[in-house]
């Protein structure tokens, strides 16, 4: 009985784990190349889920076909945020940024205060438009300042800054999607049958999601191993000085790997909707961010394939440990599986910070 449940859970865990693994590959790729932990990771998954949802609802496009669209959206978002926010912090080349003088600071602060004072007396109806205008104005102001001051700093990317910038990017995405689609939890129903295995039941959509994840992981692996572009990115990860003398445009590789990472993450959002096509809302990403951190560490923070493997392990452990904890009275097994996975994270960070795969 317990054995049956355990094997059913493990099987489900394996299938889910492959999707989790895929969802973490982008995070690992970005960390591997830029040494940036993308705290806004979950928001990009959310964007993917919305892409899938919108395409299904608007045109009845099955999620499988939404994958290339999501990937393209992800790449575009990646480029946008890389050049808009991250490049000044992580770009390996160039000399220092001029620091802004106090007049500019004063002027900026003055404009903002003036805007706030004006807005205080605005009626509610204008607030939406005003907020959007203000948002756009800030973006433009920012772009303008970035253009003037060239934005490159001397010190190496401080974690603090990159953590906060990626977090803010996540917030921008969440809030924009909220304004566009409200915070309603949505979903769609794409049913194409199920596979009954006795110990558990697996809908074909889940199997496709899992298979899709595996395919993308394999494709990424091949891309890294066999193509010129993939080799270039690997070379940057391994040694950017070496890559530079080979004629690789390292700056561009940074941009490319960030947007590829985001592309993969957004794509994984589509795969997740194949697995779970419901509960899609602007704030759905948070838990995935945390999970992805654990998974990425399991696989070695900087390794995309490690991440895939980590996803499988995570799926197995999380689902498997449920059955274990369910044997104890007075515990809430589900919460305990979460506790357990974070304990696992700490243990791995302590004993094997390079991940489970890598042999010392």
């Amino acid at each position: 009985m317990i054995f049956e449940q355990l094997s059913g859970n493990l099987l489900q865990g394996l299938v889910l784990g492959s999707v989790y693994g895929m969802a973490t590959m982008g995070l690992s790729l970005i960390f591997g190349v830029l040494q940036v932990v993308n705290v806004g990771h979950g928001a990009f998954i959310m964007v993917g889920a919305f892409t899938s949802l919108m395409m299904f609802q608007a045109a009845g496009v099955p999620p499988v076909l939404a994958i290339p669209v999501a990937f393209a959206i992800g790449m575009a978002l990646g480029m946008l945020f890389y050049f808009g926010a991250l490049k000044p912090l992580v770009s390996p080349s160039g000399s220092g940024i001029k620091s802004l003088d106090m007049r500019a600071v004063g002027m900026g602060a003055g404009i903002l205060v003036a805007l706030l004072v004006v807005m205080r007396f605005l009626s509610a109806a204008f607030k939406l438009h005003f907020a959007i205008t203000l948002f756009v104005a800030i973006i433009f102001l920012y772009g303008f300042l970035l253009y003037i001051y060239g934005g490159r700093r001397q010190d190496k990317a401080p974690e603090l800054a990159t953590l906060l910038v990626t977090f803010s990017i996540g917030v921008i995405l969440e809030e924009s999607v909220k304004q566009l689609f409200t915070s309603e939890a949505r979903g769609f129903n794409w049913a194409i049958g199920k596979l009954d295995l006795g110990v558990t039941v697996l809908p074909y959509t889940k199997l496709i999601a899992s298979f899709g994840s595996l395919t993308i992981a394999v494709l990424l692996y091949l891309w890294f191993r066999k193509t010129r572009a993939g080799m270039a990115m690997r070379s940057v990860v391994e040694d950017d000085v070496g890559a530079r003398v080979c004629g690789v445009n390292v700056d561009w590789q940074y941009a490319l790997s960030f947007s590829l990472g985001i592309g993969l993450t957004v794509t994984s959002g589509v795969l997740l909707t194949m697995f779970i096509p419901v509960g899609i809302n602007p704030y759905m990403g948070g838990p995935y961010t945390l999970k992805s951190f654990v998974i990425a560490v399991l696989g070695g923070l900087a390794s995309p394939y490690g991440a895939f493997f980590g996803g499988l392990v995570f799926g197995l452990v999380e689902n498997g440990s449920y059955t274990l904890f369910a044997q104890f009275q007075g515990l809430e097994p589900f919460a305990m599986t979460r506790f357990f996975s974070f304990v696992m994270l700490l243990v791995i960070l302590l004993l094997r910070p390079t991940g489970l795969l890598k042999v010392k």
Partner: protein
Amino acid sequence: MKKRGLILLVVPFLAIAFFVAPAHAVDSIVIGHPAALSGSYAKAGEQAVGGVQAAVDWVNSVYGGVNVGGKKVPLVYKYYDCESKKESVTSLLERLITTDKVTVTFAPYSSGLTLAGAPVAEKYGIVYMDHGGASDKIFTQGFEYVVQTIGPGSSYHVGTLEMVKKIAPDVKRVALAYEDSEFARSVMDGAEAKARELGFEVVFKRTYPMKVEDLTPLLSDLKASDPEIVIGGGHFQDGQLFNKQMADLDINVKLLSLIAAATLPAFGEALGDLAEGVMGPSHWEYGVTFSEEGAKAAGMTWIGPSQDEYVALFKKAVGKDMLPDYHAAEASAQVLALVLAVEKSDSVDSDVLRKTLGDLTFMSFYGGWDIDDTGKQIGHSMVNVQWQKGERKIIWPEDAQTAKPVFPKPDFE
């Protein structure tokens, strides 16, 4: 140097000018609301703000204002966004009370945020109306100004179990699977007590964490316990997940009832056929047949728009094609309660208002409204809705029925 000195002089003045806001007109009744428009409770917060606005519009344009002190004064609605954060609730609430001089305050969504604001309201002795904090414990804390419109959590699944008892007395095996949150837990405790009282056998009782992404392990466990009816849920997102994954795992039961999620329009939209036969307890539902005639027959005061008028008002208020759900209806009913209380007592004094609210009973499109001594809502009964052919039908209580319950629910195909 001189210029800098000047700035140093001017800045504090500006700051003070900014802090001390202009006084507001006294001849209106102002509702202050630190709403949760972003953050974790943004969805419910958006509904609530729309609901209050809709009711305020109705009062001002249809009802003609609030009759107090011999003249009709308009209702004014002031809301800020607390971002679902507790510190913001206190500071914004105080601002509403002191700077904006509101007549009455509304609590933000969720029991936690409601609790966060309660001490401030108590300190200023202003009525604090709770439309989104369902915890029974709020009303055991000795707050004097907190008044609840939403029904207490422990009553959510009571009607569901009573229904099963009545229409299928031989069904015994109940599984409880709720979200691990304070609200869902109070529902679960109430349901468990009621189930035991009615002689059900509780074969499964588990919770799952908030913001869960995958319920498979729990549901496999649930499946193994072979229940006949499953009740549970917690929020909007996990409810959809619950239903979807039950279908994925082919867990077919005679009844599935989910709190919060199943009663919302988005539930059916998201799940399509899979929602067929799924039930949920609700405070209010589009389709509930509360009417002015019914109220008169029951000998109760009636106020407010009819249901259809209300839906139109709501859509106008939010400016989107969005249907109101019970979060909105609760907030609206609260406005109506306020209007009646002000008119009845002919006063805007907080203590008088609070006392009048305590004595008030009325009916609106939302249903009955009555509170006990502690401020807890006791006059409102839940309805049970069921998804039937893509529509939400009210199936229980019998006198509110818009359709007969489908029992047992059809299997997932």
